[in-house]
């Protein structure tokens, strides 16, 4: 079974690029353009969630926290959440990732090779590796 992935980004071009790339790798991809859409979709049987940081309604950290709560309520094992952000990694962002149970923080643009390695790491790791 190829991975089933939720991709969250409000920038249409970024969404297209990452969607196309994941499709080329054979993944099945759903897209969400804001945090509430991501939350509405999150109970689907995704293997992996890509979350943008700055979204128009709620930020990616808040959306991730809600997704974690919903996983808990519905007794779904937490899926890896990879934050793809145009911001560079800082201690503050790292702390927010830990608070929201986000597994990994990547700064955009990311080379496809690096992303592919991180994705396969995340999918092969059970239980989920903390930051």
């Amino acid at each position: 079974m190829m991975p089933y992935v939720l991709l969250v980004d409000d920038d249409p071009i970024t969404l297209y690029v990452h969607h196309q790339m994941l499709k080329n790798w054979g993944y099945t991809v759903d897209c969400a353009v804001n945090g509430n859409q991501a939350i509405a979709l999150c109970l689907n049987s995704y293997d992996l969630i890509f979350m943008d940081c700055g979204l128009p309604d709620i930020d990616g950290f808040t959306a991730s926290k809600t997704i974690r709560e919903l996983e808990n309520i519905h007794q779904i094992a937490p899926r890896p959440i990879i934050m793809l952000s145009a911001y560079t990694h800082t201690e503050q962002l790292q702390a927010e990732c830990i608070a929201a149970n986000i597994n990994c923080f990547i700064t955009k643009p990311v080379s496809f090779e690096i992303l592919k390695n991180i994705v396969s790491d995340c999918l092969n790791t059970t239980p989920i590796k903390s930051l």
Partner: protein, 70 residues
């Protein structure tokens, strides 16, 4: 040029550069994997190389910010 008078902080500027660069580099890499002629491949590689140079600039802006805050 006085950094304090920039309308955006350097951190924001770096962020604002990264979003279009994701589009430029991402699409160029997707295009590179298509069936291109030799000349077309060279054009695409030039786009990628130029995009990488801009990305390095975005990173250097952040370094400049760190230095300025020392």
């Amino acid at each position: 040029m006085e950094i304090v008078n920039l309308p955006l902080s350097l951190r924001d500027l770096s962020h604002e550069l990264r979003t279009p660069l994701t589009g430029i580099l991402g699409n160029a890499v997707l295009l590179r994997d298509e069936n291109l002629t030799f000349a077309q491949k060279n054009y695409v590689n030039d786009i990628i190389q130029s995009g990488d140079a801009l990305l390095k600039l975005a990173n250097r802006l952040l370094e400049a910010k760190k230095l300025a805050s020392l």
